[in-house]
Symmetry: C2
Subunit: 269 residues, 2 copies
Amino acid sequence: MQTEQLIQQIRTKKSFLCIGLDVDIKKIPNHLLKETDPIFEFNKAIIDATHHLAVAYKPNIAFYEAFGIKGWEALKKTINYINENYPELFTIADAKRGDIGNTSTMYAKAFFEDMEFDSVTIAPYMGKDSVEPFLAFKDKHTILLALTSNEGAFDFQTLKVGEVPLYQKVLETSKSYKNSENLMYVVGATKAEYLKEIRQIVPESFLLVPGVGAQGGSLEDVCKYGMTENIGLLINSSRGIIYASNGEDFADKAKEKALEMQQQMASFL
Amino acid sequence: MQTEQLIQQIRTKKSFLCIGLDVDIKKIPNHLLKETDPIFEFNKAIIDATHHLAVAYKPNIAFYEAFGIKGWEALKKTINYINENYPELFTIADAKRGDIGNTSTMYAKAFFEDMEFDSVTIAPYMGKDSVEPFLAFKDKHTILLALTSNEGAFDFQTLKVGEVPLYQKVLETSKSYKNSENLMYVVGATKAEYLKEIRQIVPESFLLVPGVGAQGGSLEDVCKYGMTENIGLLINSSRGIIYASNGEDFADKAKEKALEMQQQMASFL
């Protein structure tokens, strides 16, 4: 998907909501467990109920891998279901991969070809030749970890390298990578005050922002410091939406929560 | 597996060879393509031919993921085959994962429980709460990326944070993580001269060393600067062994190459 299509979708829906599909079989409603593929049925119901309120869906790959082949099948069915029924949606494989050249190409094929995701999250530690193989795919996006929402972000990401913190160096250096126009970045909402400086380095790039809600980040602060003319934000919410209820009404309750967020977002557009 | 068992195995076999199973269906011998699961059949033949010369096997997870569900099945059959037939072997899921708390736990379950690997490679960028969930598994090992063998390692890993390069900070900081006795580290053989300083920070930890051979690293230098009383090294070779021939004799040729490396290693013990 081209970035322009994502921007158009945001304007049409008045939403920059990304719904995180961190689907844990222990947390989904009991009545789904009798289905052949409970995880897929859960995702399908959530997507059907919320697709008009969100612009992106982000399966957290770990949750699928933890269920082995069955999880992998559920993931594949989920991405296929989105692409077939709601091709306007932007899809993110939250995989946080990163390896050298030919191995990165294999990961890129896994997420961009075997499963047709629009984007994948990537860790920057291994540098240029671990990121560029992903950037080589046309109309696909590489979402590089810059400043994450967790406590451990302070272990290395915020340490000064020379004059600037590591995460700023990551932003700056990545701009020189080949096909860097395909880059987006992960910036945690729990560190919204950092967005001002981040926007000086990457004034137009899309930022995928986790941590609003459950982790304590503020939507208002993120918009205040991070929004661009073309919005440039995808705000992720996972548990707050998909686990709003664990009864038979789970999809309706997810829709209510998504609507709440969409309405808040509309007020900032 | 306990570290002592790995050390014992190294002493018995006079080898600290790890064979990387970076199995690309385009590179395996043609005659295997008629099998139901060519990748597994390839791995099985390689393992059967070399298990007495190597102490560890390291499937590169990207190569399996790129084949989707079939790749995942081949991976699972491979780890099960090793565990059932050669339980003395140390197994490494070269996955380079890393995510926050509950997500890391899901990845750990994927590799330590759904598939019973002894260890997994992890990227350090997200810090403590992305690594500790892996360390919590008893008798399992977390192999943290420190200094990788690729060119991109110079993008961030070798940048100075305060007085020391980032990779040294990663080594130092990780020692304070809970259950840090379960840590090992990736250090590329192409940067063997760095091993002297690395050994000052982690004098006893096992190091997984890629980059000998194809990437130009020297076994002699790695042993000179990196070996400890308990050896403390796992030297990985992938393509040089598994693709020694692409004819029907591929397993025999792999055995010859593995034997060459084992004999070189024996001379350093």
